[in-house]
């Protein structure tokens, strides 16, 4: 029931905003924040009631919906889903709170954000394959309107590309889901049942095709090189908070899906192709980092670091899926991948919000346009430095916890990949230091003389996200405890 409320509240909020009378900017935003905070509170409550030593899925609710084809309203979370959902709710609250130019349509803007929040949270908590697909698709619709209506540059083109490209992925996913569904003896979309029955274990070509379909759909969403080409443009043209959601939440749907679907339901097939996936992940890590280094556009650079970071996550998942019998290493990698999802969501979410602040002030993303802002805007500088350091894995911050575990696990299973993968961290460190230098140090150009410091709301939102990054970095136990239960069961269940 708690989980249902967590996603239903934002949906009801979205509907009431749509039909609300002439609400202004402040009222609409206040209402959106209230609803998002309530939803976050529900997830926190679910977290408090979660027993890490208990069964895999908890807070389960199962209501038949279309029994004739085995669809039901089934929700429940394991540790992985719970932390990702909670992080998403926090990020949505931050995105809604963040001031942005709503172009005279505040109600619609906040309604779409709440709608997107509802679909995203629902995706993480459902245990029904068909509903998973439903929310996977609906999240595209929400993001499409956010980019197309409130974006800048060529928003409609970017929104269209985004929708078409990722919809192609979800169609592959749909076909694979149907294939998986038909392979059960009594067809059902109950994820728990599929995980328990393992219908395609050891099935040659058929299992391979289903796996391919699932991975194709999820890899486009993640995105994994070479299927990443929709991402940079969508990010650049989206409004800041929508970018934060896109990177922080929507990309997680891909990697979360990889854990929930192929890893849990087709472990034997995944194990066979794990090296391929791991190599692709390595390519994404290095390619994402190198291309990010070459970007002159503020937002594009961060967009490409997302590809790099999601590469770490996929690497962790591939290690967890590999045939190796070093269970400890595999579990470590899976836990690391989950922490990376949380860390990347918070860090990159914050970075994109910062990009939004730059755009609101100057309407310019070119790095060369900026410089010497450290004196002008010390608070902005401090917070950006904090999240940038966290992003390249500075010890004591969230990114380090994640990357350390992923590489420790990888080293035991694919030592060479770990060696090359670490190069990615090096490049990322370089590119972020360069990024900070160009923005904040050196001489202040004359045209930036009136550049405004962060407003109170902006500083508070970024402060909360930064605080979460520090807490996870310093005291990750509260997070790891919850995740470990799930990753042990997922790895040891074989």
């Amino acid at each position: 029931m708690i989980l249902t409320l967590a996603w239903l509240l934002p949906l009801l909020g979205a509907v009431s905003l749509m039909i609300a009378p002439q609400w202004g900017e402040t009222q609409a935003r206040g209402f959106g924040m209230l609803v998002a905070a309530l939803s976050l509170a529900m997830l926190v409550w679910a977290w408090i009631g979660f027993d890490p030593a208990g069964p895999l899925f908890q807070h389960v609710l199962d209501v038949p919906w279309v029994p004739s084809i085995g669809v039901g309203y089934r929700v429940g979370v394991d540790g992985i889903a719970l932390v990702v959902a909670t992080m998403s709710a926090l990020l949505f609250l931050a995105a809604i709170a963040y001031p942005v130019d709503t172009q005279g349509q505040p109600r619609q803007y906040y309604a779409w954000l709440l709608f997107l929040m509802a679909t995203s949270l629902a995706l993480f908590v459902v245990l029904d394959l068909l509903l998973f697909y439903v929310f996977f698709d609906l999240s595209l619709v929400g993001m499409y309107f956010l980019i197309g209506r409130w974006g800048h540059g060529q928003p409609q083109l970017s929104a269209l590309t985004f929708f078409l490209y990722t919809f192609a992925g979800s169609l592959a996913l749909l076909l694979a889901i149907i294939g998986l569904y038909l392979s059960l003896e009594s067809p059902s979309f109950d994820m728990r049942q599929i995980i328990a029955q393992q219908p395609l274990a050891g099935d040659g070509l058929y299992a391979g095709l289903v796996f391919l379909g699932l991975m194709l759909g999820l890899a486009i969403k993640t995105p994994l090189v070479p299927l990443h080409t929709w991402l940079p443009q969508a990010h650049v043209d989206a409004p800041g908070p929508a970018s934060a959601i896109l990177a922080g939440v929507l990309l997680k749907m891909g990697t979360y899906g990889m854990i929930r679907l192929p890893l849990a339901m087709l472990p034997a097939t995944f194990a066979r192709y794990a090296p391929v996936v791991a190599i692709l992940a390595l390519v994404a890590i290095l390619y994402g980092a190198l291309v990010a280094l070459g970007q002159r556009n503020l937002k594009r650079r961060i967009a490409y670091t997302s590809i790099n970071h999601m590469g770490y996550t996929v690497l962790g998942i591939a290690v967890a899926a590999s045939v190796s019998d070093n269970l400890a290493a595999k579990q470590l990698a899976l836990t690391g991948a989950t922490v990376e999802m949380v860390a990347h969501g918070l860090i990159t979410g914050a970075l994109f919000l910062i990009c939004g602040s730059f755009w609101q002030r100057t309407g310019e993303y070119d790095l060369a346009y900026y410089g010497g802002l450290a004196h002008q805007a010390p608070l902005l500088t401090g917070l950006t430095v904090l999240v940038a350091f966290a992003s390249f894995g500075m010890p004591g911050l969230a990114g380090f916890v994640a990357e350390f575990q992923i590489f420790a696990g990888t080293f035991a299973v694919y030592p060479w990949l770990a060696v090359f993968g670490v190069l990615g961290i090096l490049i990322t460190a370089g590119l972020f230091l360069d990024f900070l230098r160009q923005l904040f140090f050196g001489r202040l150009p004359a045209h930036l003389g009136r550049f405004a410091e962060l407003s109170r709301v902006e500083a508070m939102v970024l402060g909360v996200l930064g605080l979460a990054v520090v807490i996870i970095g310093v005291y990750p136990r509260f997070l790891l405890e919850v995740i470990d239960g799930a990753s042990t069961l997922l790895i040891g269940g074989r």
Binding site: D137, V141, G148, L160, L164, A168, L171, A172, L175, I178
Partner: protein, 468 residues
């Protein structure tokens, strides 16, 4: 008593005749009253049709008329679509001083479509096709002073004449082979073996004749023109209702055929060609009604997927009917919007409609998203069932082709949505009237209800099977 088996059809016929008489004698300012007669006939026919539901499948009238749940489901769907179209019409036809016959023609055309769905005899099928065609030609050309309507009707008529001639030739050859037009008898004779070449010619002719009513390749070319040029309510009717009757008729006919005819392959190829052509042609359209016309060509292609696997032991017919329900509601809603907006057709005239008419825009967007198959709208469930039955029957490649086509179709539907939502509004938006708005909102509500209550639809349709 066999006559009782035909009560819904008889009521429809009676209604049509009464309207003809009424239109002949009523003064011009009373002509619009015919709409009440038509609605009454449709509602009574629906009620009588619903009473036939759930009985064991059987044949009646010496085996020429199938009374099974497939036919009844199709009948109810056709009647419901007809009722919606009739309800949309009075506001549209207000400016036409003499239009009582319009409603009679609608009823005749619906009657023909119902005959197609129920025919268990090749001659019966021919009569159904001809009746629905003959009544539809004047409907398409009802605005005789409007050149695009005349062009559309001319195209519709010429293609129809050719396709119907082929159909009749096919039936004649079939009769020559079997010695009867009855399907049951034909099925028996096929078991003992007939000249495969002659049978192939007959099958080709009959299938081609039916593709005309279905709006499928190769006889699809009338669809976009009719969608663009015919009166908007009639465009709604002709893009939806004949398809339902023809799809069921085709399913019924192909299930008779012996395996040696390789009909699943032929239908699969028609399906692929139809959906691909429809979608590719819709890509560059700058006219919303034409775009909807091409989109309904492509939707015929999806519907054919279920017919491909109708003999494979999977639940193909429930999937087909569920898809047709989903398609009918969404397409009728889209055309209801077009009608309510006085049939505006250029995509450029839809710029920024969301600012001027938020609710109407929402209805159109939901209709389009349902046509793509975005969950949880009913269109998704319809497509999902089609994918499921084709993959289960071993036609995974067909499902993959359909998935690609869905992707292509998303592009042009999104183009419309982008125009509605993101462009700056231009000028005032003229709408038709209170009545058409109510029908529009009612259809919108219906779509939402069917989406949420898909379980009931699915449960109702699950046991349907063909008679005989």
């Amino acid at each position: 008593m066999p006559l009782g088996d035909l009560l819904p059809e008889l009521v429809l016929l009676l209604g049509a005749v009464v309207i003809v008489l009424f239109a002949a004698f009523a003064p011009q300012r009373r002509q619009a009253g015919a709409v009440w007669l038509a609605l009454l006939a449709l509602v009574v026919a629906m009620g009588l049709g619903a009473r036939q539901w759930g009985l064991p499948p059987r044949l009646t009238f010496a085996g020429v008329w199938a009374l099974d749940d497939v036919a009844i489901a199709a009948k109810l769907l056709i009647l419901a679509s007809g009722a919606l179209v009739v309800a949309l019409s009075p506001d549209w036809m207000r400016s036409d001083r003499r239009h009582g016959e319009y409603y009679a023609l609608c009823l005749f055309s619906l009657l023909g479509m119902i005959m197609m769905a129920s025919a268990h005899d090749a001659m019966e099928l021919v009569v159904g096709v001809l009746l629905s065609s003959a009544a539809s030609y004047p409907l398409a050309a009802y605005h005789r002073g409007f050149p695009p309507a005349l062009e559309a009707a001319m195209k519709y008529f010429l293609i129809g004449a050719l396709a119907n001639a082929l159909l009749v030739i096919g039936v004649v050859i079939l009769f020559g082979l079997v010695g009867d037009t009855d399907y049951a008898r034909a099925s028996d004779v096929f078991q003992t073996g007939v000249d495969p070449l002659a049978l192939s010619v007959a099958v080709a002719c009959i299938v081609m004749g039916l593709t005309y009513k279905l709006g499928a390749v190769p006889a699809h070319a009338w669809m976009p023109d009719v969608a663009q040029g015919a009166p908007a309510p009639i465009a709604a009717l002709l893009t939806v209702a004949p398809k339902i009757g023809a799809a069921v008729a085709l399913a019924r006919f192909v299930s008779l055929l012996p395996d040696s005819q390789a009909w699943p392959v032929i239908v699969a190829l028609i399906s692929v060609a139809t959906m691909t052509l429809g979608n590719l042609a819709a890509l560059r359209q700058t006219d919303l009604r034409r775009l909807l016309g091409w989109s309904s060509v492509s939707q015929s292609g999806y519907a054919l997927m279920a017919i491909v696997v109708v003999g494979s032991g999977v639940a193909a017919l429930p999937a087909l009917l569920a898809f047709l329900v989903a398609y009918a509601v969404a397409n009728l809603l889209a055309f209801a919007v077009v009608t309510h907006l006085r049939g505006r057709t250029e995509l450029a005239h839809y710029h920024g409609l969301a600012r001027r008419q938020p609710l109407v825009t929402a209805a159109l967007i939901v209709a389009l998203l349902s046509l793509v198959g975005i969950p949880p709208l009913v269109g998704f469930f319809g497509k999902f069932l089609l994918f499921e039955v084709t993959i289960a029957a071993g036609y995974a490649w067909l499902a993959v082709v359909a998935a690609f086509n869905t992707l292509v179709s998303l592009y042009y539907y999104l183009r419309v949505i982008a125009v509605l939502m993101f462009k700056a509004p231009q000028g005032e938006v003229q709408v038709l009237g209170r009545w058409s708005e109510m029908v529009l909102l009612g259809t919108f509500l219906l779509l939402i209800l069917v989406s949420l209550g898909f379980e009931f639809l699915q449960a109702v349709l699950a046991p349907i099977a063909l008679a005989g």
